[in-house]
Amino acid sequence: MFTFEENMLLLSLRLCSIRKISVSRQFSSFISEKSQTSSRPSQCLADDAVVYVHWPYCKRRCTYCNFNKYISAFVDHARMRRCLVQETATLLQQSGVQRVNSVFFGGGTPSLALPQTLAAVLDVISQHALLPVDAEVTLEANPSSTETNKLREFKAAGINRLSLGIQTFSPPDLQVLGRDHSVEDSLRAIQEGRTLFPGRVSIDLIFGRPGQTVEAWQRELQQALSVCDDHISLYQLTLERGTALYRQVQNKQQTVPDPDTMADLYACARETLHSAGFQQYEVSNFARNGAESSHNQSYWRGKQYIGVGPGAHSRFASRGSGQIIREVRIQTLEPGQWMGAVERRGHGTAKRTALSQLDMLEETLMLGLRTTEGLTNERWQQLSGGSSLQDIFGTSEAVQEFVKAGLLELSHSVLRATHAGLAVLDSIIPDLLLTTQDFSSSLQRTEARADIETG
């Protein structure tokens, strides 16, 4: 592991001679030739990160969910704990991360995990990096009664923020979605959660459910507002291939709202939550009283994240081996195989791909624009090698058109989607990606020319 000073030394070395980095044998085969040379010094060298821990098991299958989860009658909790702890340690070591700003236990249904499992993971994080006492540690929890009864133990294990999968306050819709709790369970979970984690309980709601009308949604939101804490996440129901709901819609047993109604549902929610004092800070996230999730914000700001557990994704630079290029990592999907891998190798990484400069620019752009704060010029320039947002997007015809239509704002400090722009972001981003790609290829041409001249 490198100290901060060593990192700076490395950085300066890299600046001097971008092409002379030694890549250890062990990892070089993973990294494509191209990215070894074209990536630039940047914030990917930061020594902090957030950690995501995946608990892959669920009690039952929700009709809409295509996440990496497993319905298993028997879960070997002890083995899972050993493996999660082992992999956390390995990945932290490989990343060289000094500080972990937040931890998120997601799933699956992580509230089905034993509290001591979560405690053990938090312990190992603390052993390898600084985990500040006030760091946000979130648990995704099902509002079913058994899990609600464990909330106190989870708090004792180190959890300080709760994300409750309420999804809907409509009893028939809970059935349609295949949830294993009642509305009463939800209300009790929220109440219990707010007692234990005041100001730090988030609820997830799904809109665009079969047969949903704007009026019913409005009433439901009012009900949510009457019981909720300071954070709400709104997810639009997406029909994923392979799910029960997808089949039902295909077979015409269920009908989901048409795109225009979807738009109305979203608009209604934004307005209703705004009236209740909630600020939207990302496409699907709303908070008041400063209750924004710092973990989520780290994703959108393009910070490093380390994903632990079956199928978890990461974005971080492994430096244990001298490798300082940010990579995408994907852990082995299936829990049994993943555990086997962790036991053999200390980690279950199934795939590592180096991110090129363009990849990083594109991701940062896509994620940054999802937030209401937008993509800051400062962050952009760290990755772009100095070119500002204005330099790159100011001359784009498409961008000018977006600005004129009131969908986008571009200033010296930030590129940001407007309120209207946020709702149609997926129609805006492709043009911005093209602009970014043009910039990247012109940069490469310049580099190539410079190489010829100096060479």
Binding site: G106, V283, H313, R315, L367, E401, A423, D426, S427, L434
Partner: protein
């Protein structure tokens, strides 16, 4: 299009290769029965004019023309009797697949009759009227034809058209009824139809099965008995009709010639009556059925001639060739073929433009009837506007482009040239004429500047079982047709003649006719005239901006349905986007159809973090890739596919 279903990529490759080998080999000779000189070549001087017969087989598609040709070649020993002899003369892949003949081919055969050896030249002609120019060219080298009719199908539209071509050329016509072995064969009523329509005598008929070889030998004798030898004089200076040409990469133009008078031999200095250019004969020979060099060609004989003509343009079809030192009175020649159906052809991707150009150039080398003009469309980029003799011609061309040159292209809806009589002095001055021909909607003059518009009409022949008459009447009426003839050709089959606007039949008339008659009706047409018509230019606008490549010239009565159909077609292919898209079809300033593609109210995936990033990124990048292939009209992104689906046939 239809043929794609039958394509096997592997076979295609193999076929093309074998085809090419035939071309590249220095015209090596095949087995031959006749007497040869010491160097293995046939002595052509042993066939005086009176022992020569030049004939052709004419028939409707699938009536067995090529099969009969195969049998005649076998019977005369020109090719050996093998099971694999199928359509020996149809060398193009498209010909074999479609069972049609596109390019004229000749084959020389030797036949013993009453102790003498006769030279029979079979000139295989295309059956379809689109290739009429090929037929008439070939017929100019013939003195007689075999008129072949399938006993199962009876006389068909092309039979009629081809009969008249031969009749007008004053050729001897031998009626042959084919496929008499088949269960459904109705020899009697086929005979009756032919007698009624073509005024044949009873004793004239041959009843054969080309497939089984039944009664085919008798036809060879009949050719000698009933078709006169060519009217040629061996003592006059050499004079030959150039009636076809193909292009060989190594040897230049390979011309098909019918020697009228005199004799030509390798090494002779010859000239073209048209260009006055002089060449040295490098090789002459006969097709038997492959190129077979013969040193000489004599009066009345038909063969090939290679004389170092560098381009197909130099080998002008219809030209008269003569010895350089003895000029002759030129033969009447041919009117150049006049294209009647125009279609744009564009590469799928602009990077393929050069390849497409090479392919088009190569193909037009062998098909001088196609006119080529460069075209450029804001949506489809650089391409060509090609003029064809008819629809089948266009389809065959495109198929050959694809099969022989591996070029995939976007082919636009065919259009026809209309005319305008100008009233505006300014325009008359500008065009230096009062009547202009309009090839593209961009050239369409405004109503106030013209006295009248004219559109090309054709005379269509339909032969159908009478049970389908009502539906055919409705179809022809819908296509603005005017009935000019109605004749029962036997107890249940009717020959109809309709005057139809060409514009109405270029797209799907034939398909519709086939479908309403379950395939029992046959159709053919010939050019008729230009007649006054209320024509209008229909524009298509996206958010107020006209898209020139979607403009079209239509009859006033059709403007409304066509405009509505165009607008709704576009509505279905233009994806929803950030901005509202208003699609309008307009006549002048008047909007006659309108559709709206509503703007997206919401287009953003709600949840996005962790693993989702990769997936989401992939999706957005794919969309970005897609944008590159879109055409921006104002602020509207129009996928190329949208244009293609509207423009494509």
């Amino acid at each position: 299009m239809m043929w794609k279903r039958f394509l096997c990529p592997l076979c295609q490759r193999i076929r093309i290769i074998t085809h090419n080998v035939g071309y590249l080999a220095p015209f090596a000779s095949r087995r031959h029965a006749s007497s040869k000189s010491s160097d293995g070549q046939i002595d052509m001087s042993q066939f005086p004019v009176e022992n020569i017969r030049n004939f052709s087989i004419i028939a409707h598609v699938d009536h067995g023309k090529s099969t009969l040709a195969d049998r005649l070649l076998e019977l005369t020993g020109t090719i050996s009797q093998e099971a694999s002899n199928k359509q020996v003369l149809d060398k193009l892949q498209v010909e074999r697949e479609r069972g049609i003949t596109v390019k004229a081919q000749t084959a020389s055969m030797f036949h013993q009759y009453q102790g003498k050896t006769y030279l029979l030249n079979l000139i295989d002609t295309p059956g379809h009227v689109d290739f009429n120019y090929e037929v008439s060219r070939s017929l100019a080298a013939c003195q007689g034809v075999l008129l072949l009719v399938d006993a199962n199908q009876g006389v068909q539209a092309q039979t009629v058209a081809n009969f008249y071509l031969a009749f007008e050329s004053e050729l001897a016509i031998i009626p042959v009824i084919n496929k008499i072995d088949l269960k459904q064969a109705d020899v009697e009523s086929t005979e009756e139809q032919m007698r009624r329509l073509f005024d044949f005598k009873e004793e004239d008929f041959f009843k054969i099965s080309a497939k089984l070889g039944l009664n085919c030998r008798e036809i060879l004798d009949a050719v000698i008995q009933r078709i006169p030898p060519p009217k040629s004089d061996p003592n006059q200076p050499w004079k030959a009709l150039l009636f076809d040409s193909t292009y060989n990469h190594y040897r230049g133009a390979v011309t098909s010639v019918a020697v009228v008078d005199g004799r030509v031999r390798q090494g002779d200095r010859i000239s073209s009556a048209h260009t006055q250019k002089t060449y040295e004969v490098q090789e002459v020979g006969i097709m038997s059925p492959d190129h077979q060099a013969t040193q000489e060609l004599h009066a009345g004989q038909v063969g090939y001639l290679i004389a170092g003509m560098k381009s197909i343009q130099e080998a002008r079809i219809g030209d008269t060739l003569h010895l350089s030192n003895s000029p002759v009175e030129p033969l009447p020649g041919f009117k150049p073929a006049k294209p009647m159906v125009f279609g744009g052809i564009f590469p799928m991707d602009q990077s393929e433009y050069r390849d497409l150009k090479v392919a088009v150039d190569r193909l037009t080398l062998n098909d001088s009837s196609v006119t080529v003009a460069k075209d450029s469309s804001p949506a489809l980029g650089l391409g060509f506007r090609l003029g064809f003799l008819g629809l089948l011609h266009m389809e065959v061309f495109n198929q050959r482009l694809e099969q022989e040159y591996n070029a995939t292209a976007i082919v636009t809806t065919p259009s026809v040239p209309c005319k305008a009589r100008l009233s505006s002095d300014k325009l008359i001055k500008q065009y230096k004429t009062e009547e202009i021909t309009i090839f593209s909607p961009a050239e369409f003059p405004e109503r106030r500047d013209v006295t009248e518009y004219l559109e090309p009409m054709v005379l269509g022949t339909i032969i159908t079982p009478d049970v389908h008459l009502n539906r055919i009447f409705s179809l022809c009426e819908a296509k603005r047709g005017e009935q000019v003839d109605f004749t029962y050709i036997d107890t249940s089959r009717v020959l109809l003649k309709y005057k139809l606007p060409l514009n109405e039949i270029v797209v799907d008339f034939y398909d519709q006719l086939k479908s309403i008659t379950s395939g029992y009706a046959s159709f053919d047409y010939e050019d008729h005239s230009y007649e006054p018509a209320e024509l209008v230019k229909l524009d298509v606008l996206l958010n107020g901006q006209a898209i020139s490549e979607l403009s079209t010239i239509v009859h006033k009565d059709k403007a409304y349905p066509v405009g509505k159909a165009l607008a709704s077609k576009l509505k279905n292919v233009i994806p929803r986007q950030l901005y509202e898209v208003i699609i309008q079809a307009a006549l002048g300033g008047r909007v006659i159809a309108r559709e709206t593609v509503k703007a997206y109210k919401k287009n953003v995936l709600a949840k996005c973090y962790g693993g989702d990033i990769s997936r989401k990124m992939k999706l957005l990048k794919r969309q970005a890739e897609g944008k590159k292939r879109m055409k921006k009209i104002g602020n509207v992104d129009v996928p190329k596919d949208a244009f293609i689906s509207v423009l494509k046939r």
